[in-house]
Amino acid sequence: MISKEEARFLSEEELLKRQRKGATLTATIVAMIAFGIFFFTLYSNM
């Protein structure tokens, strides 16, 4: 999350770009966790 102080010096485009970068990283990590749980469920029953 971008702080109020940081945001003050960012244009709207820069703010969106920063937010998007963080969102993509978050989504990738969360998706990997989900895949990990799926494969662990299968693996633990082999």
């Binding site: 945001a7 969106l16 969102a23 993509t24 998706a31 299968l42």
Partner: protein, 550 residues
């Protein structure tokens, strides 16, 4: 580049290109809905889809109650009755309640955190458009050779593997798609809340609806892949010669139950935590007081979520568990009543000495608090291992989870729609009719489900099309309640459609004068694009529903 009235997706595309590429409003016609990446459009799609599935699953419930109106076989064959109970459960859980909450999340989360849209708009579109195909595939099994799945919504092996009809493979594919959609939706919610909040909005500044959805999204990420794993193993057992759940091949059918309920119990909280969030938004508005104990509500929600992963085997007390296991699962289950009690206490305390008024959303919220608590108490009874031996697989269980999911989850969804609909469409519904509908529904739903407690305590098993004469009276009362409750949805449909088409226009941004929250600072109806400029910290604090005066 001007950033007024643009789609977030267009802006994302434009960030990687040098030219301007933005729309100034929605497309026209059906393509608007197919191609949309706008969180409000997608929220609307989710809500209508959920409503259609609710009516479909409700029609199946009417078949079930009609068959149970009298002892003996009246209307349908036992095999078809089992298909109805199975598909009713699956459609209500995966097609109605979950998508309805995702619809509310899509509409409200960006508005409540001052974000322009959901973080991943194209994935949002995809998450939704998987659903109709999955739902259609699930329903299509009814028309296949051998009929649809008839093994109950819990699809225990070997009923769902060795002894299931061919259509089960389509059911498995539908569950995979529904799960995939839910996981993508959860990823989007997490990324949106963690990364797209207005600058300066701290986690503890977020409205409780946003908090409950953040925690729900993590539950979805942890639980849905387990369900996907379970149905994948079912698929390979059925078609590729594996024996995960086949005792004859060295597998273990009880393992299926463990895996299913490791998903299934958190699933219950996936369906009820956002309901807690909705009620926590509505009660302060109509009590005209800040929410009592905001931080304890957040911690209670997180505690419930954590505990939901360590209690699954309370659904399996009768599978032959060591006494130590029974004791552990019993105590862990009963522990959930502590954070849940915190929540009920906080809602009541928020109302205490408030300047209460009972507009339609508040009526539904108060009904939720009372009736959900009844469902919680019967859950406590079921969590007591020695007592569960008597209650297990009886109508007491049916009564319990319908109090939680109908008068809990569904009531909160109706409350949310009546709370936010005027903001969404800029029109007010017929409040008199809405109140008539409330009393109609709340009385009939109790006639429908309360007698089922007595049936269960007297020993009537669930999932049977016929029963002993001693259960006749309560079944008849329950069926009459069911038909009346079912009919109430015709009035609900009329109220909503009438509101959207002919409702009295509302212009005030704050539709409910005592409401607090960023969503009430934007014009009414909510413009297609909102928060092109994120709100400032002062506005965030001023609009907090848990601090300051109302």
């Amino acid at each position: 580049m001007s950033t007024t009235t643009t789609d977030l997706q267009d802006e994302i595309d434009a960030l990687g290109k040098s030219h301007d590429n933005h729309h100034h409003g929605p497309e026209k016609g059906v393509m608007r809905w197919i191609k949309t990446t706008n969180h409000k459009d997608i929220g609307t799609l989710y809500l209508w889809f959920a409503f259609i599935m609710l009516l479909t699953g409700g029609a199946m419930a009417m078949v079930i109650r009609a068959e149970l109106f009298q002892p003996g076989l009246q209307l349908v064959e036992p095999q078809f009755f089992n298909q109805m109970t199975t598909l009713h459960g699956l459609i209500m859980v995966f097609g109605a309640i979950m998508p309805a909450f995702v619809g509310l999340a899509n509409w409200q989360i960006p508005l409540m955190i001052g974000a322009k849209d959901m973080a991943l708009p194209r994935m949002n579109n995809w998450s939704f458009w998987i659903l109709p195909f999955a739902g259609a595939m699930l329903l299509s099994t009814l028309f296949m050779k051998g009929g649809g799945p008839a093994f109950g919504w819990t699809f225990y092996a070997p009923l769902s593997t060795t002894f299931a009809p061919d259509s089960t493979d389509f059911f498995i594919f539908a569950i995979h798609m529904l799960g995939f959609s839910s996981i993508m939706g959860a990823i989007n919610v997490i990324a949106t809340i963690l990364n797209m909040r207005a600058p300066g909005m701290k986690l503890m500044d977020m409205p409780l609806f946003v908090w409950t959805w953040l925690i729900t999204a993590f539950l979805l990420i942890a639980a849905m892949p387990v369900l996907a794993g379970a149905v994948t193993m079912m698929l390979t057992d059925r078609n590729f010669g594996t024996s995960f759940f086949d005792a004859a091949g060295g597998g273990d059918p009880v393992m299926f139950q463990h895996i299913f309920w490791f998903f299934g119990h958190p699933e219950v909280y996936i369906m009820i935590l956002p309901a807690f969030g909705v009620v926590s938004q509505i009660i302060p508005t109509f009590a005209r007081k800040p929410l009592f104990g905001y931080s304890s509500m957040v911690y209670a929600t997180a505690s419930i979520a954590l505990l939901s992963f360590v209690v699954w085997a309370h659904h399996m007390f009768l599978t032959g568990m060591p006494v130590a296991g029974q004791m552990y699962f019993m105590y862990a289950t009963i522990m959930i009543s502590v954070p849940t009690g915190v929540k009920v206490f906080n809602w009541v305390t928020t109302m205490w000495r408030g300047s209460l008024s009972f507009e339609t959303p508040m009526l539904w919220a108060v009904a939720f608090v009372i009736l959900f608590t009844i469902g919680g108490f019967s859950g406590l009874m079921l969590g007591i291992a020695p007592a569960d031996i008597q209650y297990h697989d009886t109508y007491f269980v049916v009564a319990h989870f319908h109090y939680v999911l109908v008068t809990g989850a569904l009531f909160s969804i109706i409350a949310a729609v009546f709370y936010w609909l005027p903001k969404w469409c800029g029109r007010m519904y017929n409040q008199k009719l809405a109140k008539i509908h409330f009393w109609w529904a709340v009385i009939s739903v109790n006639i429908l489900f309360f007698p089922q407690h007595f049936l269960g305590l007297a020993g009537m098993p669930r999932r049977i099309p016929d029963y002993s004469l001693q259960f006749a009276d309560f079944n008849m009362i329950s069926s009459i309640g069911g038909f009346v409750f079912g009919a109430s949805f015709l009035l609900l449909t009329y109220i909503i459609v009438d509101c959207i088409r002919n409702g009295e226009r509302v212009k005030e941004p704050r539709v409910w004068p005592s409401a607090k929250g960023l969503e009430w600072t934007i014009p009414t109806p909510a413009p297609y694009h909102t928060f092109d400029k994120p709100p400032g910290k002062e506005l965030i604090l001023a609009e907090s529903s848990h601090t300051g005066a109302h």
